[in-house]
Each structure stands twice: as C-alpha cells, then as structure tokens.
Symmetry: C2
Subunit: 354 residues, 2 copies
Amino acid sequence: MKPTLQAVADAVGVSRSTVSNAYSRPDQLSATLRERILEAARQLGYPGPNPTARSLRRGFVGSIGVLFTSQLSYAFTDPFAVRFLAGVGGAAERHGTSMLLVPLPPAVTDARRAVENAAVDGFCVYCVADEEWALDVIRQRGLPFVSTAPRDNASADERFVGIDERAAAHSAAAHVAGLGHRRVALLADSVLPDAPAGPLTLAAVDQVPHPTTRGRLTGFADAFAEVGVGWAELTLVNVPGNSRPAAAAAIAGLFDQPAPPTAVLAGSDVLALGVLDALAARPAHDRPTVSVTGFDDVPEAAAAGLTTVRQPAEEKGRIAAELLLDPPADAAAGHVLLPTALVVRASTGPVPRS
Amino acid sequence: MKPTLQAVADAVGVSRSTVSNAYSRPDQLSATLRERILEAARQLGYPGPNPTARSLRRGFVGSIGVLFTSQLSYAFTDPFAVRFLAGVGGAAERHGTSMLLVPLPPAVTDARRAVENAAVDGFCVYCVADEEWALDVIRQRGLPFVSTAPRDNASADERFVGIDERAAAHSAAAHVAGLGHRRVALLADSVLPDAPAGPLTLAAVDQVPHPTTRGRLTGFADAFAEVGVGWAELTLVNVPGNSRPAAAAAIAGLFDQPAPPTAVLAGSDVLALGVLDALAARPAHDRPTVSVTGFDDVPEAAAAGLTTVRQPAEEKGRIAAELLLDPPADAAAGHVLLPTALVVRASTGPVPRS
DNA sequence: GCTAGTCTCTGTATCGATACAGACTGGATC
DNA sequence: GATCCAGTCTGTATCGATACAGAGACTAGC
C-alpha cells in the first residue's frame, strides 16, 4: 500500500540502510545520492520513516507523558493545571519533544493498562489524588518520571518539583489570624475519599490521606495553634471535587449556623472562588462579611480580588519537563522547591464588629 | 535488561504467542494458564507488552494528534484553544485514546518533519495560520484528519467541524451598525503575514490570505455595506498575534486621530479584551466611549461584559475528535457546521452624541 | 608502489511484539 | 469406532525501520 523505505531503496537501486541514512544521518552519504533518494521518495509518495518502527529500533519515542489522575477534560477546566501544562508544553517545544496526555479510566486495572501502554520516554505526574500505583507501573517500565506533589514514601533520588505546602499555607493562615479571626473554616477538596460535602470531623490532621491536602491543612492549623486556636476548634469542610459550584454547595449552609465562621481558608483558588460565589448568591441584606483566602493565584484570582498564596504554575510545569528531559547530574538538583508568596487582596479584612 | 515477552514465555515454558494472548486476547487460552503467565510476569517484573512494538505490529497507535500551527505554550494561553482541547480530551477519554500535542518548530522543513514523525492514528488540525503544508504531510502519510477552519481548496470528502464565519461575523456587525455606528475599526490577527501592528490599507477583503480571518472580515464588511458604508471607509487594523497586549498596542493610537472610530469589531475575544484594556488604560477624562465586540465568547468575555459571537468551543473539540475516532459512514455527516449566537452585553451601545 | 586513511555504501542482525494457519487433545455425535 | 468440533497452544512470517561491522574505491603521503 504505502511505500516503505525498502521500496525507495529498490527504486534508486541502493540498500535500505542508505535510504535510512538519507533521512537520519545525512553525513553518511554523498549529497548527490541523498538528493536522488529524496527525489525518488517524493516521486513514490514515501512519507518518511515510519515513526513507530523507528521508535522501536531506536529505543525511544520522542514524547513525554503527562499523567493526570483525573478526567482529562477536567484538567483543562482547572486554571492551575492549564498553566502547568503551558509550562510543560513550552519546555517540550524547546526540546523538540511531543506531549502525550494520557486519560486514565476510572477502574484502576484499566488505568494501569493505560500507563503501561503509553508510548512515551517518561512521565510528568501531576496528581490530584493518590497515584502510587501509577508510579509503580512507571518504575516497572523503567521510565523516568518527575512528580509535582509531595509523597509519603518518595525516595531521595526521585525527581520532584513543588513547593513547601505547609509553610505556604501557614503564610495565608497567619495573615488571617493576624487580622483577628478565630472562628475559621478550612475548605479542602477530597479530605477523605468518598466523604460527603460539608463539615467533617477529624480527630487529627494527620488522618488526611492526600499529602498535598494534608500539607496545606497542617499549615493552616499550625498558624492557628500559634494564636491558641486548636485543631478541634477549626471547622473542616470537605468538598468532593475541585470546582466552584461544589465549593459553593459545600459551604453554603455554614453561614446560617449559630456562630458562623468569619474567615474561610480554602485549599485552592477554585474552591475560594466558589466560596465567594456562595456569598454573592445571598441577598445583600443577609450577606455576612467573611474573609476568604485561596491557594495558587490563578489568573481569575486577581480579578476577583482574592487573597491567596501564589505558586509559579507555569514554572512548575517547565521545570518538571526540564527535569525529565535533561536530568541534572547531581541528584540533589533533581529536587526543586519553588518559592511561594502571600498575595493580599480585598477578600480578607479584619473581623467585623457584630 | 528489562524482560521481554520472550523471557516470560521461557520462564513459563510456553510460546511467545501464548504470552501475547494472555495480555491481548484472554479468550485464546485457559484461565489457569493465563494466571500462571501473569504471575510469572509479575515475578520477573515484566511491564506488559512494549507499546511501540505492539503499535508497529498492529498498525495503529491508539492516540490522536492535535496540531497547532503556533507555539504549544501559546495554545494554553488562548482560552478558546483551551476549551477546544477540553472537548478533544473528553472525547478521547471516552474512546480510550491518548492525545498527542505536537509542537511545530518555526522552520517549515523542521515542522514537516515533526508531523511526519508523530506517532498517531490521525490528526485534529487546529490552525491559526496557513496549514496546507501540514495537510499535505498528513495525506501523504495516509492518516485521517479533521480540520476546524475553512480552507480554500478543501475537497468535499474531508472531515470538518466549524462555523459559518461570515454569517457569524455579520451578526455582530449588523448589531453594531444597527446601533448607528458608521466610523468603525476592524481588528484582526495577522491580516497579512508580517504586516506591522496598526492600521493597514487593503484594496479588498479578498486579499486576506487566512480563510477564517477573511471570512470574519467579510462578514463585518457585508453588514456595513448594507447600511452604505463601503470597505474603503472601514479602518482595518492589523495585530501581529492573538494577545491582549498586542491588540492594545495596535489600537492605542487610533483614538487620538481626528475622527476616531466609535466602534471596534475584533476578530476574537482576546483582541477585543485587549481593546478594552487599551481604553481602560487611558485617564478617565480622556476615555472615549467606544463600542467593542469580540468573537468566540470565551469565559472571560462574560466577566468583562463583552458583546460577542458565541461559538461552542468545547463542542467543536469534541466533535472534531469524534469525527476522527469514529468517522460517519455518510460523507456529508463528516462536515459539521455548528450554530453561533450573538451575545449582547454592555460593551456595545449607541453612538455617543458628541 | 605500497600502506594508511577517508568516504561511501552494503549486508546482516535486531528492536519486541502480533497475526494466522495449523497441530494436538479430549469429548460429543452418530 | 470413525468423524467432528471446540478449546488450546505452537511456529513462522511479518510489521518497518536502525545499528554496526566491514567492503570497495579513492586520495595522500612517503
């Protein structure tokens, strides 16, 4: 059907190797012969070496995988994820490498298979949930990877780019505590798997399984412990899924309770924006003054006047891809902590006198 | 190094074929033998069939390519492109297919090579510039593709999903014309390749090379022709690149001219938002009242109160992927025109009395 | 004139799997 | 007891290229 490299070789009367060299190693043959070969290829409609066959023989593919442990369409909805992807894309582009986005089916068995079958040279693991099984598969395949979230049993030689979640969260909470807030709600995505939306009682913050969420909640708790507010006095609110409507729904009832929180610390900007939505949805005469903080500093946060913790999203993606594409010789350099900064905007203020 | 399928076969004492069947065709062997094989594979650390070798033999890859004729990092900056990608991603996910984002180097020779080398089963071509060369390569490779923008020499059997650019643009312009505007600027990205930012004189709209841009500009011109304003009376403004700052820079000087436009029709929301930025940047006492329209209805448009033409971005991506992944038997069904709608918001109003 | 060295090009082995035809069992059918 | 058949498994050919060692031809140097 489609001509192969052999067909071109036969047409020109040279060996297959020579045709291959005409494409991949121009210095291995004379310019005139090379031109003759390419011309013959053009005549025959030969589209160049088959990428799959070439990858098999060469032992690498020329593309890196990005793994989201969530719906692929969700990834494009999350502004932080999009900035991250932009960073990965930029680095990949500079490196002449493609990006493979691998959707993971809900069932773990199928998802494992998807990771096993991805034709890539390595993975950037952007996790929104527990992804240990995925790393197992990647290790088994012998592929390099970079993870972007802290993990409980990460080994020292694993490449990583991320932030100090706990310290970053602390900065936001300390700001809110400094404004005098003592009745505070902490809002986070999937605090416990399958927990319902709304307030959730948890004996200790250590029980939160997902390391990122645990890190942020711990940072929040740290800051309030410093002003004498213990974990048990904080209201923990679970949101199943990182979306504005979900956050709005989870928080809505809270403001109608006897002693409602005067501040809400959210584990992401998306959640925080959902809290602002919930407040905005109330009639003006029944709208409590609540301080709200987010996390990430996505583009929408600035427009909404949201106080938040900035982390460099695009940078994170860029560095993740670079750590993968040209690994530093020094193992320590493979562990990158990015700076974060508290960005104070209009969404936080002193406790209103009631 | 890493065990191959052969190694597993040897360990269990069966043929390579049988091990292959254990993975890919479980009905071809007894359940007990299959279990023995998978167990041995686990023992040996065999990560499952090599994706590349499998693809070579089977003749397909299990992933589709998305081609942007622009920087990959740019694609994630453009809100419309992001929604499009979300649509493609959702469809790919449902189909169990991966998405390969292929960055194209600036030089055409290199870019051709990139398209030749992409290991995919087909392409969604999201073009922001002339992409005929890319389609040539894809056709030569014998791969299916779906394009999402009108093309001048598209053949009837090519799959396509898009909108009636001209009619959609007409609806926006007719709205503005109906408000009484007669001094109007048309703003578009890359009207002519390499043209400088700012006003551009063009004898006729047919001279615009890019079909999408030409379609929209023609629609704008149509509506004004109907109220007696000819092409020559419209101010055409070129923006090199679809970004807010570029649009702001290109339009800025226009409002200081003798008879400034009372309305600006932009070829995309991003450009329109740039116009609003340019206006907002002026001191309040020197800020002309200008009606502005966009195109696409990206999420930011609603927040900015921008009058625009809505086209279903995510739907476009979804349908593009579906046309690629399960092609309709009927060729006519492979050509999908999506509906558009004029969304009137605060950014357009009657001509101010001066 | 002979050895070296450089340029080109060829031939064979190999990358790691899947497809497909066929061989072998053991029981059901008549 | 011969025939058929379904259920399992094997063996060989093949997918389309690249790597690498080596063969010829040709120039240079002494």
